[in-house]
């Protein structure tokens, strides 16, 4: 049984590599039962998306001249 600390590590690694089948099952089980870790998963997805938007120059947009 994984604990939350191990799950956060694994979720972060999932952003770098494909997890193995034997890693995925206990991870899935944990996430089904743990709202905190499931939120953590969504948060690091959010971070990736935020970085992507930031690097596209998204912030500080200005109205187009009319």
């Amino acid at each position: 049984m994984l604990n939350c600390k191990q799950v956060t590590r694994l979720l972060s690694e999932a952003q770098e590599r494909d997890l193995q089948f034997k890693e995925k099952i206990p991870l899935k089980l944990h996430l089904m039962m743990c709202a905190g870790c499931d939120n953590f998963r969504k948060q690091i997805d959010f971070l990736r998306q935020a970085c992507y938007e930031y690097a596209k120059g998204k912030p500080k947009s200005w109205p187009d001249p009319s």
């Binding site: 956060t8 770098e16 998306q49 690097a55 947009s61 001249p65």
Partner: protein, 205 residues
């Protein structure tokens, strides 16, 4: 595209937009900020921004508005940064990086002795990203949180998430092990999410 569409859609081309001083100043400021987060060297940062602007100006592309134009200029800038990072590896100081990751225990306080979340540190729901990204103030906090990460850890994270290097490429360039690389990126995410949770998502705490 029909003639009517053509007339109604606002079309910008870069050389023309760059004659708008306000637009140029804002664009330049945002570009410089973006590079300076990633490299400590202001002169190099300014050089890269200039190079990207010159490259952009030589194109004849048209854009459906200035946001699209800015995205395109940033794509050029990202390539310039990637080239620079590949040619020089002095951007990350390996010894400092090792010191930054030495203290394995600093996020342990978020967990109890069995490794489960402390009730008050359990991650919250952040809601719809698009709604958050639409708020200008969020990006200010985002930048502040990036600068509060340990310096070299942040640089590795930005190589990964801004420039889009593969983890394997980063490990190789820095001559560190894959598992070390994963630890660094994990710690960057832990630090960043903690900062955003405190400063943006739950400022009343």
């Amino acid at each position: 595209m029909s003639v009517a569409n053509n007339l109604s859609a606002r079309v910008d081309d870069l050389p023309q937009s760059l004659r708008d001083e306000k637009f140029l100043a804002q664009l330049h400021h945002d570009m410089l900020r973006f590079v300076e987060l990633q490299l400590q060297d202001r002169v190099t940062a300014e050089d890269l921004v200039q190079e990207a602007l010159v490259a952009a100006m030589s194109g004849q592309e048209h854009f459906s508005g200035r946001a699209a134009l800015k995205t395109w200029v940033f794509a050029i800038l990202k390539n310039k940064i990637a080239d620079y990072l590949r040619q020089r590896q002095r951007v990350v100081d390996i010894a400092s990086l090792a010191r930054e990751t030495d203290d394995e225990a600093d996020f342990d306080i978020l967990f109890d002795h069995r490794g489960f979340w402390m009730p008050e540190d359990r991650p919250d729901r952040w809601g719809d990203p698009e709604a958050v990204f639409a708020q200008q103030q969020f990006w200010t906090i985002f930048e502040i949180c990036l600068t509060q990460l340990p310096e070299n850890t942040a640089r590795v994270f930005m190589m990964r998430e801004f420039i889009g290097f593969d983890t394997s490429e980063i490990c190789q360039e820095l001559s560190i092990t894959t598992s070390n690389c994963h630890v660094i990126l994990h710690r960057a995410r832990m630090g960043l999410r903690l900062c955003l949770e405190k400063r943006w998502f739950a400022p009343e705490d």
